[in-house]
């Protein structure tokens, strides 16, 4: 570590503080592994609080610190909300970066897949409400999440839903800034992204929430495209193809092509598809899944929609269905 000396001279207070921090947490069992991070369960020694440690694999810092790591830490430092995962601490150890996060044992995907659990309309409303509240907090701080999917909606032992994984998040800056369109897991990717739009807004997150909403009702992925091309077909088969008539200037998007033209679904077709949905439920789904991003509703509009006012009332988080640990 000659570089340490070259930067700061003989003092190495940096190392001391690192040790102090890491000794405050214990890293116990590995609970999950993603493409760029490993997650452990641990305990904060000072408070005996159960925590999750997200160790970011940096490949020995081969290419420097990962952009997504910087993003995640930056936005989680800024956002504080009941429905957004809490970042407790950050420290670096050996050659990795560790994010200390609040411990959230389940995610929505696990619940959807567990067929022994029955979702009532009130349960779905409760999850949607918490998701939209968290997302609203992101958007009112001009932050796009850009990777909303059931897998990233975590649930606390008390049933509270929290948005996690801000590795693709970014802030919405100047309107002329170019954004990359290669974001969001494919099934939850909005049509403007599929067409390669370089300028998009929070409407892409709303689309994802809309697809999640549909998935909660159907208990199966709503728009499962096999690849990027197929995703377009699947999306438009379900919701109709965009035309200049229903989406002004769609043909000017870089990836636009009009091979398949599907008619938009009729109200009755939608009623058949979402058999359990009330009219205002369908209204909300439709306004979240408008093809034209300008016509899609905002988080505010969604939260104020009739769906959240009408009966049944959203289930209290405490009484939401939970996954019963089977093995232990």
């Amino acid at each position: 570590m000659t570089e340490v000396v070259s930067l700061s001279g003989p003092e190495q207070h940096d190392d001391e503080s690192t040790l102090k921090v890491s000794s405050n947490y214990s890293k116990d069992t590995k609970v999950g592994e993603g493409t760029y991070a490993v997650v452990y369960v641990g305990v904060q020694k000072s408070s005996h609080r159960k925590i999750a440690i997200k160790e970011i694999k940096t490949g020995g810092f081969k290419d420097g610190l990962d952009m997504s790591a910087i993003r995640e830490m930056k936005y989680l430092q800024e956002l504080r909300h009941v429905n957004i995962i809490e970042l407790i601490d950050i420290y670096s150890e050996h050659n990795g970066l560790n994010l200390i996060l609040e411990y959230l044992p389940y995610d929505l995907e696990m619940l959807i897949k567990d067929k022994s659990i029955i979702f009532t309309p009130a349960n779905i409303k409760s999850w949607m409400l918490m998701t939209l509240r968290g997302l609203h907090h992101c958007h009112r701080n001009f932050i796009l999440h850009r990777d909303l999917k059931p897998n990233n909606l975590l649930l606390s032992p008390q049933g509270v839903l929290k948005i996690a994984d801000f590795g693709l998040a970014r802030s919405l800056g100047a309107p002329n800034e170019e954004l990359t369109s290669n974001v969001v897991t494919r099934w939850y990717r909005a049509p403007e992204l599929l067409f390669g739009s370089k300028h998009y807004t929070g409407a892409i997150d709303i689309w994802s929430v809309g697809v999640i909403f549909a998935e909660l009702m159907l208990r199966t992925p709503y728009l499962p495209g096999a690849n990027d091309m197929d995703q377009l077909i699947v999306t438009f088969r379900a919701l109709g193809s965009p035309t200049e008539a229903n989406w002004t200037n769609v043909s000017k998007l870089p990836g636009y092509n009009k091979i398949n033209i599907y008619p938009p679904p009729t109200r009755q077709e939608l009623r058949n598809r979402f058999s359990a949905a009330t009219e205002s439920t369908l209204d909300l789904i439709c306004s979240m899944l408008m093809l034209d991003p300008l016509k899609r509703c905002t988080t505010t509009e969604a939260l104020l929609s009739k769906y959240f006012v009408e009966s049944p009332r959203a289930t209290d988080p405490k009484s939401l269905p939970k996954i019963v640990p089977k093995n232990k």
């Binding site: 930067l7 700061s8 001279g9 420097g64 610190l65 910087i70």
Partner: protein, 379 residues
């Protein structure tokens, strides 16, 4: 920490500017101030050699490189310039580097020393962090290493990055206050220009309101219908007759002339000169004169046929915030706030002129209530 909307506006203007040489030199100077450099070997400091004869930039740096054939890094300014041209970094990212450098300066212990390349490393590290923190996509560290022209290896770049993050305690957030503080040398000239522009635009708006008012008061004065409501105050000061030439009038009102004593109950020219002086901190006298001349011309041309008006004092404001308030009010001056604002500002800005202000407000109010009443009658 509070910052005015003027500061915010100047920041907006600054961040749109292209990267310029003065930014590079300021960055280099700041980087220099972050950490002291220990001469690498004691032999070199035995006797100071005078600097080489001044030549054009290129040959000087070449000379330096040749004389210290070992691992003497290139001049910091050149290093920064090269990084900018290779990475095509834009002003917002580049100048956020400054925030980190300044933060680092307060974090690093004052007795720490670096080697020759430390400053280069610090700058590069801060630039990488800024780029990764702010942008949707950023060059990878291996690219950054390439941009140094072989001065640093990828391994070194990675270490620098991580170490810097440690020093900054992983907190890469940049607030508006940070930017305003760190970029103040660049923002100052922009602020002055914005201020000036806004004063001018206010002047124009003011003048259009004035012409409207005078038109109204002209109607009031001349139409017998309004007599009932009309106040003695509303007799709009026929104390100046227009036989005096326009430039003369203007001159007198701008230079606090004796005409003031003639008209006791009427707007005193000292008013106007007060306002003008208040704003003259930034605007030169000539521009004010030009502007006011323009206005008097405009004003008098419009009203010459009546021959009974004198120009109202020009109301200039030096505070940006007040400007926007006023312009807002002017836009929808049908609200009561309009009058409140006027009278309040009068109190704030010009205590000595309370008399006049209240008189004026009363005057406007009078006319105004007249208008609305008329409107109601019509409706």
């Amino acid at each position: 920490m509070v910052y005015s909307s003027l500061e915010k506006a100047s920041l907006k203007v600054f961040l749109r500017k292209p990267v310029a040489q003065d930014m590079v030199s300021y960055l280099a100077a700041t980087t220099d101030s972050v950490i002291k450099i220990k001469p690498s070997s004691p032999n070199l400091e035995q006797y100071p050699t005078p600097p080489s004869t001044p030549m054009d930039n290129k040959s000087t740096t070449n000379n330096n490189n040749n004389s210290n054939s070992s691992k003497q890094p290139v001049a910091l300014t050149l290093f920064i310039e090269r990084l900018i041209s290779y990475s095509n970094v834009q002003t917002p990212t580049l100048m956020s580097t400054l925030v980190y450098l300044i933060r680092l300066r307060s974090i690093l212990p004052s007795n720490s020393y670096g080697i020759e390349s430390t400053r280069h490393r610090l700058f590069l590290g801060c630039l990488i962090l800024a780029a990764k923190n702010l942008n949707d996509s950023s060059p990878l560290n291996k690219h950054w290493a390439k941009y140094t022209d072989g001065a640093l290896s990828i391994k070194e770049v990675n270490t620098i990055e991580r170490e810097l993050l440690g020093y900054l305690n992983w907190d890469l957030r940049i607030s508006n206050t940070d930017l305003i503080n760190c970029l103040s040398p660049f923002l100052q000239p922009i602020k002055e220009k914005l201020k000036k522009d806004h004063e001018l635009s206010l002047l124009r708006k003011q003048q259009s309101v004035q012409s409207l008012q005078s038109l109204q008061s002209y109607n009031n004065y001349n139409t017998p219908i309004n007599n009932g409501v009309q106040h003695s105050r509303v007799t709009v000061t026929p104390s100046y007759s227009s036989n005096g030439s326009i430039p003369e009038l203007m001159k007198s009102s701008a230079s606090n002339s004796t005409l003031a004593s003639n008209t006791s109950s009427v707007v005193t020219p000292s008013n106007s000169s007060h306002f003008l002086n208040a704003s003259a901190n930034n605007t030169t006298d000539t521009t004010i004169k030009e502007e006011s001349e323009y206005i008097t011309n405009y004003y008098f041309k419009k009203n010459q046929p009546t021959n009974t008006f004198k120009p109202k004092p020009l109301r200039l404001r030096s505070s940006y915030d007040n400007l926007s308030n006023i312009t807002n009010n002017i836009n929808h001056n049908t609200s009561d706030d309009f009058f409140k604002k006027f009278s309040e500002e009068g109190k704030e800005n010009n205590k000595s002129n309370n008399n006049y202000q209240s008189q004026k407000t009363g005057l406007i109010k009078e006319k105004f209530s007249l208008l609305t009443r008329a409107g109601r009658v019509i409706a």
